[in-house]
């Protein structure tokens, strides 16, 4: 049985980035700005790693804001799943930010730093919150920073991508807000655990309407079919660090978490609605991987690939089985790390070869053999080849589905893996084919040293190491998933702490 600790210090994970983001405009020196952002992101990552360690030992952390206890007040809830996802989001974000130093400087840099910090904060807040209106506010913070970051290159592609993302993202916020209005009309409260308690005895017609509204709203954010038309355009038009941020699935991971939390814990949907989510996720997977086969722009190809992989994760999380769910969470982490590394190496290669189309990368093995080799290894890891950890997660998703007799889903996943292998091999063939003598001179003034690849090599070795401990890792993720899908434990953990907070006094906890 897990305990709940009421501790107010984790609110710094939300407050510190906000304070730093607005204090950045007071600092004039660029290295100090960059250092502040990097230190804030590393602080968030390490603190959430510490909370994850505590949650693994059975102590979940609940932050009670201003001493007003849960049914009435605002609270943040750091369980195993949420602290794991916050750790992933902030760690990946700090790696991307560190690597963005090596690229062309985004002008104006102050605004890029502020927006990058705010989008990380938004994604973190979506995962950490226990209150429905805070969820909406953090969703909007992440979305608005996303709109601005997508249009950061002031060229034709960037502005077009940004306005497309903005219009469709506004639709998502409208649907989520109508859903919140209906929930408030039905239950009279905005605290997620309290809503979960009160919706147990609610009318099923209202629950279906709320389910549809939230599915549309959060589905636009998590890029489910047919709500993902904006996503490939947004990834192509954005500058490379921002594309890496979107494509490794950090805001999408927050979307997956909120989908799981609102659908399973708060609404408590039944088998029929879960099967709707499974159908949508399976069709996203198949269609995205299929479209990725015909792409010639590598950024767009990776965009479609990311959409498909996160749909696979949603598929695995919705089946309700502990083995499949745990493997799905592992797949989310693997995919985020591999996609991140692929994008950063793609930036490296594109600088040397002069462009991001597939044709530009022809013959890259001659110009930078080491980077091309690591790139190829990461592509194989993404598909799920052993000995990388992608193999473990995909294998256990497929066997978990097979043992529950979901044969159609197994066929869909295998078919989409077949598509993945096709486009991965196409990229590898282009990389290793003889170079064509073109007058397309690479960008000579910006050079990325091969030494920047070293952290990625360490990451690759780490994933190989993770494959050897796969049983322990999968058992851990099984427990994470079981805690995530346990509705009554969520309600009890948050609502029953009232007595202990009143007796010790929440103000004393903060001191």
């Amino acid at each position: 049985m897990s305990k709940v600790l009421v501790n107010n210090y984790p609110v710094l994970i939300i407050v510190l980035p906000l304070v730093v983001a607005f204090a950045l405009s007071l600092v004039k020196w660029k290295p100090v700005q960059r250092g502040m952002v990097l230190l804030t992101l590393l602080f968030m990552a390490s603190y959430s790693g510490f909370l994850l360690h505590q949650a693994t030992k059975g102590v979940n952390t609940l932050v009670v804001i201003a001493g007003v206890t849960p049914p009435m007040g605002i609270n943040l809830y750091f369980s195993k799943m949420s602290s794991l996802l916050i750790f992933l989001i902030t760690l990946a974000s700090s790696i991307i930010y560190f690597y963005s130093f090596f690229y062309k400087r985004e002008e104006p840099e102050l605004k890029f730093n502020v927006l990058f910090l705010l989008i990380t904060l938004g994604a973190t807040g979506i995962v950490a919150t226990g209150d429905l209106f805070n969820f909406f506010v953090f969703l909007e913070i992440a979305s608005i920073s996303g709109y601005a970051l997508t249009g950061f290159n002031k060229d034709k592609l960037g502005t077009e991508a940004s306005i497309k993302y903005l219009i469709i993202g506004s639709l998502s916020s409208i649907f989520v807000l109508i859903g919140i209005a209906l929930i408030y009309a039905e239950t009279g409260t905005l605290n997620m655990a309290d809503i979960a308690n009160k919706l147990k005895t609610a009318d099923s017609l209202i629950k279906s309407m709320i389910f549809l509204l939230f599915l549309t709203g959060i589905g636009i954010e998590s890029e489910l079919f047919p709500l993902n038309g904006w996503a490939p355009d947004a990834y192509v038009g954005a500058p490379t660090p921002v594309s890496a941020f979107f494509s490794s699935g950090l805001v999408k991971a927050a979307g997956v978490y909120s989908l799981g939390r609102i659908m399973f814990s708060v609404l408590g949907i039944g088998e029929f609605e879960k099967s709707i989510i499974i159908v949508i996720a399976a069709s996203t997977l198949l269609i995205s991987e299929g479209i990725a086969m015909v792409q010639t722009n590598i950024k767009r190809l990776f965009a479609y690939s990311s959409m498909g992989q996160v749909a696979l994760v949603i598929l695995a999380l919705s089946t309700g089985d502990a083995v499949t769910g745990g493997a799905g969470i592992f797949q989310l982490i693997n995919h985020a790390l591999f996609k991140l590394s692929l994008f950063l190496l793609l930036g490296n290669l594109a600088l040397k070869m002069g462009g991001k189309e597939l044709e530009n990368l022809r013959g890259a093995y001659k110009k930078s053999p080491f980077v091309t080799a690591i790139f190829t290894l990461l592509l194989f890891a993404l598909v799920g080849m052993p000995p990388f950890s992608g193999f473990v997660s995909k294998f256990f998703i497929i066997t978990g589905l097979f043992s529950k007799n979901h044969y159609v889903l197994v066929i869909i996943i295998l078919l989409s893996s077949f598509f993945e292998v096709y486009y991965v091999l196409r990229i590898v063939k282009t990389l290793y084919s003889p170079a064509v003598k073109t007058s397309n001179a690479p960008n000579q003034e910006v050079k990325m040293s091969s030494a920047s690849v070293v952290p990625i090599v360490i990451l690759v070795l780490l994933t190989i190491g993770m494959t050897f401990y796969y049983r322990d890792i999968l058992n851990f993720f099984n427990t994470v998933y079981q805690e995530f899908s346990n509705r009554n434990m969520y309600i009890n953990n948050i609502l029953k702490i009232t007595a202990s907070v009143k007796s010790t006094g929440a103000f004393l906890n903060f001191l």
Partner: protein, 116 residues
């Protein structure tokens, strides 16, 4: 009975706003449609908190008790939602200005640089 007017009106506004956002081809009209839809949602949120015969939740006159006020929680929600709507509309219009400078058109049918 008057609550039906509020609910019906807000859903009508949302429907109209979505209709405008889907059917119009001029980018500024699309953004206006989104703004109308957000206004409809805010109206829906406030009318959920309305109790007949009660007054605004501000302690303006001495002796006003919380029992004679409408629900203040949706009003806090709507304040936040209005601010967010204003920010998104401002961002949308500034991107539209830059888009007009680059593409020389506001017709969404002509934004075809990113295909497939």
């Amino acid at each position: 009975m008057t609550e039906l007017v509020f609910y019906g009106g807000s859903f009508l506004l949302i429907f109209l706003g979505l209709f405008i956002a889907l059917m119009k081809k001029n980018l500024i009209k699309i953004i206006l449609g989104l703004s109308v839809a957000e206004t409809g949602v805010n109206l829906l949120l406030i009318s959920i908190g309305y109790i007949k015969g009660k007054t605004a939740p501000i302690f303006s006159v001495k002796g006003l008790t919380p029992q004679s006020m409408v629900d203040p929680v949706p009003q806090a929600l709507v304040l936040t939602a209005i601010v967010i709507g204003v920010a998104v509309t401002a961002l949308a219009l500034s991107i539209t200005v830059r888009l007009y400078k680059k593409h020389k058109t506001l017709d969404v049918r002509k934004l075809k640089n990113l295909k497939w």
